[in-house]
Structure formats: C-alpha cells, structure tokens
Assembly symmetry: D2
Homo-oligomer: 142 residues x 4
Amino acid sequence: METALANKIVGAMLEGDHFSKWLGIQPMLIEPGHCILKMTIREEMANGFGMAHGGITFSFADSALAFASNGHGRMSVALDCSISFPAAVKVGDVLTCEAKELSLTNKTGIYLIEVLNQNKEKVAFFKGTVYRTGKEWFPAQS
Amino acid sequence: METALANKIVGAMLEGDHFSKWLGIQPMLIEPGHCILKMTIREEMANGFGMAHGGITFSFADSALAFASNGHGRMSVALDCSISFPAAVKVGDVLTCEAKELSLTNKTGIYLIEVLNQNKEKVAFFKGTVYRTGKEWFPAQS
Amino acid sequence: METALANKIVGAMLEGDHFSKWLGIQPMLIEPGHCILKMTIREEMANGFGMAHGGITFSFADSALAFASNGHGRMSVALDCSISFPAAVKVGDVLTCEAKELSLTNKTGIYLIEVLNQNKEKVAFFKGTVYRTGKEWFPAQS
Amino acid sequence: METALANKIVGAMLEGDHFSKWLGIQPMLIEPGHCILKMTIREEMANGFGMAHGGITFSFADSALAFASNGHGRMSVALDCSISFPAAVKVGDVLTCEAKELSLTNKTGIYLIEVLNQNKEKVAFFKGTVYRTGKEWFPAQS
C-alpha cells in the first residue's frame, strides 16, 4: 500500500521533472524513505576536465533525496545538502545510487545517499536534510 | 597578468565544459580566486515541483568554484561542498553568483558562493573545498 | 531597541550556558542576526596532536550561530552545520569569530561564521542553518 | 595485528587528548577505519536551552573521526565536517557513536558517524573528510 503510494508520487514527480529526464534517471526501486536510481554519464555531462561535472553527480543524488523523502506522502523540499567526492566520474560510467533514511521527524528528514559506478567504486557521498511541508501529494478523499 | 592567465584558463575549461555550456553559464568576471557568473533558468531545468532542480543551482555554483579555484593556475578539484537553499528558483529566473575565496593554502582552497535571482533575492549559499593538485594548466616555458 | 533585546536574550542564554562559560566565550558585539565573540585556547582544549580539538572551534562558532539567530527574538535551534578547517589552532591562541546572516525567512536562518586567530589567520569557516520555532524569548506583554 | 596498531595509536592519542578526557569519552571498540565510543552528558556540557551544546555532540563525533581515520597508521586531520541534528540531547543522556569508513584513498578518508542516545534514538549524523598526511604514527623500524 505505502509502496504503491510512493511509486505513484514519484511517477507524478518524474512526469514534470524535465531535468531528471534529461539526466536519464531510471528508478530501480521506490519505497517510502528509500530508493535506488540508475543513470549513464553522457558526453554533454562532462566538465572542463573531461570528467562528469560535479553538478551531475549532485543532481543524481538530489533526485534520490526528493524521491525518497516525498515517497512518504508529504511534499518535502531540500534545505541543506553536503556532498563529498572521493573519485572522479567518467563519460560512459553507469552510476547507481541508493538513498537511505537516517531519520524522520514531523518537520524534517535526513538521508544518506551513496553513489557508485559500474565497478562498485564509491564516487560520491551525499547527506541531505529536507523540510516536510504540511501539503499531501494525494490528500485522502473523504 | 594574473587576471589574463585566469581568463585563459577559464576559457580553456569552458571550451570542453559541455555541461556548463548546456546550462548557458556566462562568465561576467574572472579573476584568480574570484568570479561572477550568470545563467537563465529554462523549462528543461525544472524538477517535479515546476521549480529549478536543486542540482541546477548546485551546478551553477560548482562551476563558479571550479573557475575561481583553477584561475590561480593549478588544476584544482572539488573535495567537499555544502549548499543551503533558502528560497526556490523558478523557470525564467536569471541567476547570478559570485565566488569569493575564504582561504587558500598550498593544498586546499575554500570558497563561499552566493546565488541570487534577478530581484537580488538570495536563493542558495554554497561552501566548497578544493584540493589543489601539483599540475599547472599552462606550465611556464623555460 | 532591537539591539537591546538581542543583548537581553544572549545574556539570558549565557546565564545557563555552562559549556560556553567553560569555553570562556566573551561576547564582544551582539545584534539581531550578528555577533562577534572572543575566546582563548587553554591546555584542556587540546586534542591528541597538541592542537585545539576540532570540536572546540566548532563549539565556538556554534555559540555564535545560537547568539546571532536567537537575537531576533524567537527561539532558534541548529539543524545543519558544516565546518572547514584550513589551519590548525594552537594552545594559547586567542580566537575571534563573527557570525553574519546570509538569509532569514519565517522558518529558517542561514549564517556564515569565520573564525580567526590573533594573527588574523583564518582557522575555520562554519555555515549553519537554524530552524526558527514559534516561541518568543520574551513574549510582549499586553 | 592491524587492530593492535589501531589501539596503540588511539591510546597514544587519548593520552594527550585533554578535551576528549574532559568529555569522558570511552572507546568501546577501535579498529582501523572503525570505532565505537561512549560518553555521558554532564551539567557543564549544557547550553542556554538546558540541552547539550551542539558543540558537545560534534566533539564526540569528531573524536570518533580522528580515532577511526588515524587507526590506519598515518596521521590524518579533519578538512571538512557536516553535522545534522534531528533531536535534542539532554543532560544525563548516555551517548554512543559509531564511525564507519565510507571511502579511503591515498590522500583522503570519508566517514559517517551516527550518534545515538540510551534509547537508541538518533541524535546526530556527522559526515567528515580527513586529509591523510605522509607521517606515520609509529614508523616501522628497519
């Protein structure tokens, strides 16, 4: 039930999420507070070093933050995010990321998102805090 | 002299920086350790809320981090970045950001980047640390 | 008027702030959203390297965050903080820090706090986000 | 063998770590890249809200960062740390924290440290990056 709602919400989000579509983000698993995503690095995502722009990796993790946190039903927006880059990402790399919920209170949610390449090398660690608004994605009908 | 070198480096970086081009980032001012950039938010940069994806704003600031830090002459890569989002960014907004150097040592540089919209509202604060490699962009000929 | 209120609030906070007292934090300037603090590093604040423990420098900046943000009148608590350490702090160093407000909305405040030693060397940069509760420190009497 | 070295290093660190002693930090488990610590919140650690000062919780996690990263044998210092506070810590609380290594390269190590109270409630999440110097704690004799 809750997993169905989380998938319905992420479906609705992705519908209008032009940038996640441009990135080619594919949801592999969506659950409330948890998700796994996949994407492939294209030439147009490279920076001046011929590597993936740091913003690409951040964006991938930030979409995971949005999908995991909104999957609980309430509209949630990022307040603060921090990212560490232990290794470079190359054009052609296939990235996966997993968002795990570290904590959930009435007002905020905190998530850790690890980003790996196709060789299981860890390329980024992202910690994000969202503010949970009072608005429901799909208010219960009465 | 140093400003000329910083501009030459950022010119070379932008040449191959496909993603910054896709974003439409325009350098307004480039100096060693300092830069001002501009970009306009397009429909394809929107997320599932119809706002600019957080990754777009991050990417804009991250390019500023790269341009400001590399402008000193040595290739420099982001290690850790944190971003705070006090206000949403809308499609059509014209953003500017300014990267200021907080500190520069032999190994690292630390920068604060403020992102503003066309109404001078602050929409993001980015703090980033780069690792300064030993490689020069344009080694002096002898 | 507002500065008087900010000073009254910080006075009340410091009264019960045993740890800031242990640290020997002295307020040099208190205004709503802004403060300057001073403290001296003692032997008992050292870590296993004979330098100030990173937590000491963080605590100093975190007190500045609390004083600057609560000075507006509403009880405010830290949600997310990030700190960068460009240089070591030694026993005997006299630190000052200044908290500047980057943004203030109804729900959150964002602050940058720079920490300097007695030689004006920058030893830490702290960015912090507070959640502004609905509780007033000194509710207006009616 | 490696665990013995890690314990020897942390023993040497704690010897001179006056502040960790003041905090009453007790190592429960020390391994290279991993540790579990315990401490009790005392009155003198309280802030102006009668809760543990944010710097206390940060310091606890920062000691875990130092012990886990230095346990590999090379002197390592914190570059960047970020902390999120989902719940308040009270006087009398008994905290435990566990440092887990997210990644380790030649130059840097990245760690996640979760802090829990005696009821297993999560009270802080800390992500830290260390710079690994070339200096060994106990250089091998030849």
